[in-house]
């Protein structure tokens, strides 16, 4: 199934190839095949329990699929662990905010940079001041405890984190505990933390959940801005139709673990299958 908006000139960054996830007798994701292309903003929608979050958990390695293959940026990530997948450049947020609540905003963002030093083969992101710090990653534990050649990298990490926090408009909370932030800002902080891992693909799990219309509107602008500024590909799950129809270029609709429709917001709005999944079938006796 190809939609007219699918720009075939861009290369696919994420490919889900016939992915199936079974929990005992329950098939949460069934034969899921999809492609996300470089720079796209794709929405994943569906009724409650359709298996949307499970798809995200499969992409980020929290679950491993029963069948099928997931390829990211030309690398088969199906067997990889979550932290390895993060190294490769996929970051995510959670439906029920999962911040490090007893740590400050700054610390939350700093934690997301830690993996750059513990990963032996992330040459792509291991650059500070334009220099590769791959060698620094050796004995990083001892260096950080004994503070040998560590402090300048700490400084660099802090200034990077502060820059990011400022860009996202959270600087007034810099040294506040994450749990002390207003709800909407906690969502923003989760996105900031995800961005700090230097991702190519950002997965947003219901970013507008629990927000009022005004906050939702702000969030939409925020996502668009982030996407442009950080040159990201975004894949998002959302219940709020206004968000999905407003910013997504392409939408995938799921029900009972299967893809039931795919296309532009307009196509989706008029798709009888989608209407049926959301509102139920009209009783034929009438």
């Amino acid at each position: 199934m190809t939609s007219p908006t699918l720009d075939l000139s861009k290369k696919p960054i994420l490919i889900l190839d016939r992915v199936t996830m079974q929990f005992g007798g329950l098939v949460a994701v069934d034969d899921f095949t999809a492609e996300i292309r470089q720079g796209e903003l794709v929405g994943l929608i569906g009724p409650n329990g359709a298996g949307k979050t499970t798809v995200f958990n499969l992409i980020t390695g929290i679950y491993h699929p029963t069948k099928g293959k997931i390829v990211f940026d030309g690398i088969d990530i199906t067997p990889l662990k979550p932290h390895q997948i993060t190294h490769l450049g996929i970051a995510r947020t959670f439906q029920n905010i999962r911040l490090f609540s007893d740590m400050t905003v700054l610390e939350n963002v700093l934690v997301a940079q830690h993996h750059k030093f513990t990963n032996p083969d992330a040459d792509r992101i291991l650059k500070i001041n334009g220099k590769s710090v791959k060698r620094m990653a050796n004995f990083w534990f001892w260096r950080s405890v004994l503070k040998v050649g560590y402090l300048k990298f700490e400084k660099e990490m802090v200034s990077k984190a502060k820059e990011l926090i400022e860009k996202l408009g959270l600087s007034k909370f810099m040294h506040e505990k994450a749990s002390a932030l207003p709800y909407g800002d906690q969502r923003k902080l989760e996105i900031a933390r995800a961005l700090a891992t230097d991702p190519k693909l950002l997965l947003l799990d219901e970013p507008a959940a629990g927000m009022n219309p005004k906050e939702t509107e702000d969030l939409m602008r925020f996502i668009e801005r982030v996407r442009e500024e950080f040159d990201l590909t975004i894949f998002l799950i959302e219940h709020d139709m206004k968000v999905v129809m407003g910013i997504c270029e392409r939408i995938i609709v799921m029900d009972y673990g299967r893809i039931i429709a795919e296309g532009t917001p307009k196509e989706i709005q008029n798709n009888p299958k989608v209407i049926e999944a959301y509102l139920g079938r009209e009783w034929e006796g009438v």
């Binding site: 662990k81 911040l99 740590m103 503070k147 891992t197």
Partner: protein
Amino acid sequence: MERKLPKKLNFVLTLLFILFVAFLLYLANEKLDEYMLRVVRLIAIYGVMAVSLNLINGITGIFSLGHAGFILVGAYTSALLTLSPEQKMMSFIIEPIVPWLANVHTDFLTATLAGGALSALFAFLIGWPVLRLSGDYLAIASLGFAEVIRIFALNAISITNGPLGLKGIPEYSSIWWCYGWLFVTVIFVASLVNSSYGRALKAIREDRVAAEVMGINVFKHQLISFVVGAFFAGVSGALYAHWLTTIDPRATTLGPMLTFYVLIMIVLGGLGSISGSLIGAALFAILFEWLRDLEEPFVLFGMRVPGIKGMRTLVISVIFILVMIFWQRGIMGREELTWNNIYRWLKRRGESG
């Protein structure tokens, strides 16, 4: 805005504080009687135990109950290295000591380091299965492994002298050794906590799944914390053995009881706070000695009360429960006693008052 003292002032204050403590210790060493001095040294030994367990339980959030196992490994290893060959030959009366242990004899520092290293090795081996678990299951498994180590010490008679234990261990744990090691432990753990690694460990405590998705190899980081904690537990075991001068594998000396004592210290002081651990350790050591009188016959309001064995444990427990009711996160919570924090508190008090 975050309020901070200038770095230089902070450094000078810290240096002055260390010198002040060193001076106090010098005074204590000169003026205090033998008994008081033993308590002062015990505070430092408990301090090392508490800070090392706090790294595992409080900072990383691994609910380990196996600390006594690591302490025991450190205690036995170091004692076997500092005992002279003649002493060992004399005390191993059930079965002779194995030949490769009979003639080794080292100085105290080497013995302490060996105790820490062997303890760390044990933690590394135990960590592989135990850290696959989480929560209560991890607690039970770590408690089990500690008991396995203790039962091994009870039964490997030709290595540990079994139930008779080791006697006549030289009393090397002087005030300077104890506080020197406490200093090293606190500096090392504090430096670890205040680094990129420390933040990762705290993140694991806060939310394991989110930490993993942020690119942290949770298992590896937990293992690091476990091994570092066990190393210092081994060191504290070595100090403890050379403070007690007699060790045996009974449940009350180097068994589960000790784990729970250390646990009480860190919960009392505040899980996740190094300064809290030190406060907890000092309080525990002092209270436990002070309450010793309860176990002797004493006169209360003109009534003669016979000494009841175990009474002080009961009283400590009641105090512990009371503290838990009024300060649920312990005395310090997760805060640290740093000059910056003291400055901030004073400033805040000054503004509101």
